[in-house]
């Protein structure tokens, strides 16, 4: 709720500022170059979108993007509701230094609906061209393409490798960020520091009910070094996370005395410090590209810890860019727990404790373990549009559901899954 309020407040601020800025002669900002042809509007509109279908070979579970309610496999053989989306963005240049941006995005959400969501809404003030402050909802560049992961046209793949891009649940922040850029020799170094909070509604899938993930006291540090065709990126994020959807499980554990309390304290995600550390690099001299990223997430709770990485390369042949990616994610913590010792309990309590242990182990066992090889091609078939075809072959770790959701009773953990995806991306 506070997240929604913040976004609404921001939009109100934007519109107020707009109506104030509209009357005075604020236009000369642009006329610095001389020849004033026409006075440009302070508003500009742009948008992007994707129309895509994906097929999964696993009929007893769904492949969907993070937080989505359904996808390809179980719900639909071919799903158009995983990758398809539409977004519009209004940018307002109130003055040479003050600008605002609101981006609204429509795609399938955690509840299976398509209610538009405010992706970003922030005011940006340039203290100097290299030193800026933003207030509002902003993207957190925890991964190299995180800010633009939904802009299919801006990316080489159908979607960024989920093994890495799903490591970290927090991808935006309602708060403040400061960005400072400076040349160091022939390189350009950009430091960004963010502080804020965010709420993310998610689809629980089979093991956890739907809920909200609250991130509080979020602080993040990012460093990007660019030199010629080379980009190197580092990120660190810390937040206190709360997921109340599983609270009843731990409340019940606490009824079982010291042993139950110890289990609840260890695994409950309530105001629990979580850390993410990431590093990545890309090299793109035009004709070809290589890139890779690595990340480590540690939640100190039932969602555990994980390491993920990917490496990707592509070669451009005219308007077609074939590419290949290998990606892997492995849990870095325990994926099961003996739980309460049921042997010492009277039969009725033992049954309850057994059920709690099953619930806990279902949550721990949802840890993602998967290695995927993807091959595909992007075809820039006309101006501002591309078409992509991608085939993924994923090997799921033993006992893990991998990157799948909506697991059905017939679903076998481990094993392999294949995806075929076709998308058309556009910008306007």
């Amino acid at each position: 709720m506070p997240g929604k309020l913040t976004a609404l407040t921001l939009m109100a601020v934007l519109w107020t500022a707009t109506s104030l800025a509209a009357e005075p002669a604020d236009a000369p900002a642009k006329a610095a170059g001389g020849a004033a042809d026409t006075t440009p509007s302070i508003f500009s509109f742009a948008g992007f979108g994707t129309v895509g279908v994906v097929h999964s070979s696993e009929s007893q579970a769904d492949f969907a993007n993070n937080f989505q309610a359904n996808g390809a496999g179980y719900t639909r053989n071919w799903s158009a509701s995983v990758d398809s989306l539409l977004a519009g963005q209004v940018t307002a240049d109130f003055s040479k230094r003050l600008s605002g941006v609101v981006q609204v995005l429509v795609q399938q959400r955690y509840d299976g609906g398509y209610r538009p969501q405010v992706e970003w809404a922030n005011l940006r003030y340039e203290i100097t061209p290299d030193f800026s402050v933003r207030v509002g909802r902003t993207a957190l560049p925890v991964f190299m393409e995180n800010d633009s992961r939904r802009v299919g046209y801006a990316n080489p793949w159908v979607r960024p490798p989920a093994e890495v891009y799903r490591l970290e649940p927090v991808s935006s922040s309602d708060g403040v960020d400061v960005s400072y850029r400076m040349p160091i020799g022939n390189a350009i170094n950009t430091i960004q520091v963010s502080a804020g909070r965010t709420d993310t509604k998610f689809h629980g899938g089979s093991n956890i009910p739907d809920g909200v993930s609250h991130a509080r006291q979020l602080v993040a540090f990012f460093d990007t070094i660019e030199r010629g065709f080379l980009i190197v990126h580092f990120s660190y994020l810390h937040a206190r996370l709360t997921v109340d959807a599983v609270k009843p499980l731990f409340d019940a554990y606490r009824q079982f005395g010291p042993q139950g309390i110890a289990i609840a304290d260890r695994y409950e995600m309530h105001n629990r410090g979580a850390d993410f550390l990431g590093a990545g690099a890309s090299y793109d001299p035009g004709k070809w590209f290589v890139m890779g990223e690595w990340g480590h997430f540690e939640s100190h709770s039932f969602t555990g810890a994980a390491n993920g990485w990917y490496a990707s390369a592509g070669y451009r042949v005219g308007k077609v860019t074939p590419y290949a990616t290998i990606a892997s994610v492995r849990p870095a913590g325990n994926t099961s727990d003996p739980g309460l010792d049921v042997s010492s309990l009277p039969p009725d309590l033992a049954a309850q404790a057994g059920a709690l242990n099953a619930g806990l182990n279902a949550a721990l066992g949802a840890a993602v373990s998967q290695r995927t090889i993807a091959v595909g091609a992007r075809w820039d078939f006309r101006r501002n549009m591309d078409a992509k075809l991608q085939i993924d072959r994923g090997h799921i770790g033993a006992g893990s559901p991998g990157l799948l959701t909506n697991l059905q009773p017939g679903f076998q953990r481990g094993g392999a899954v294949s995806l075929v995806s076709a998308t058309v991306d556009f910008v306007f």
Binding site: T91, Q103, W120, P183, N384
Partner: protein, 140 residues
């Protein structure tokens, strides 16, 4: 009969030549009055890609782009950064849709670029090499 085919062939070849000429090289230019002594290719690339805001001597750089679809623009970015029009659009999409920046101001053609350079010594642009005259200094 064959004569008309030969004419067609000649016209075709001539059109190819015209196309070649129209595709003459772009050159990076500043105003003849510009205080900027010299810039490396990498520095010009960084200025046009919005990564570098100032010239090495501290003056604010004002890059001037030509409109999308202009052959001079396509040639300039191909030579400068090995980027096709689609790659350049993808690059800017990434920046625009995260609200981190915006592409340089755009003008309609090389003559407009020269007009901008004349009005602002801190401006930097690119024009077709056939448009080079005493009002501009070629960087490369």
């Amino acid at each position: 009969m064959p004569a008309s085919r030969i004419y067609l062939l000649i016209i075709g070849l001539a059109l190819c030549l015209v196309a070649e000429v129209a595709h003459a090289d772009s050159v990076a230019v500043v105003s003849a009055r510009s205080p900027i002594a010299s810039l490396s290719r990498d520095q010009v690339t960084d200025i046009f890609l919005g990564k570098l805001s100032h010239y090495p001597d501290g003056i604010l750089a004002v890059p001037i782009d030509q409109e999308e679809g202009s052959p001079t623009r396509d040639d300039f970015y191909r030579r400068l950064a090995d980027k096709t029009p689609a790659q350049l659009k993808a690059y800017w999409s990434k920046i625009i849709f995260t609200g981190r920046g915006r592409p340089p101001d755009t003008v309609a053609n090389g003559i407009e670029v020269k007009r901008r350079l004349a009005a602002n010594p801190a401006a930097i642009g690119y024009i077709d090499s056939t448009l080079v005259d005493a009002s501009v200094r070629v960087l490369f």
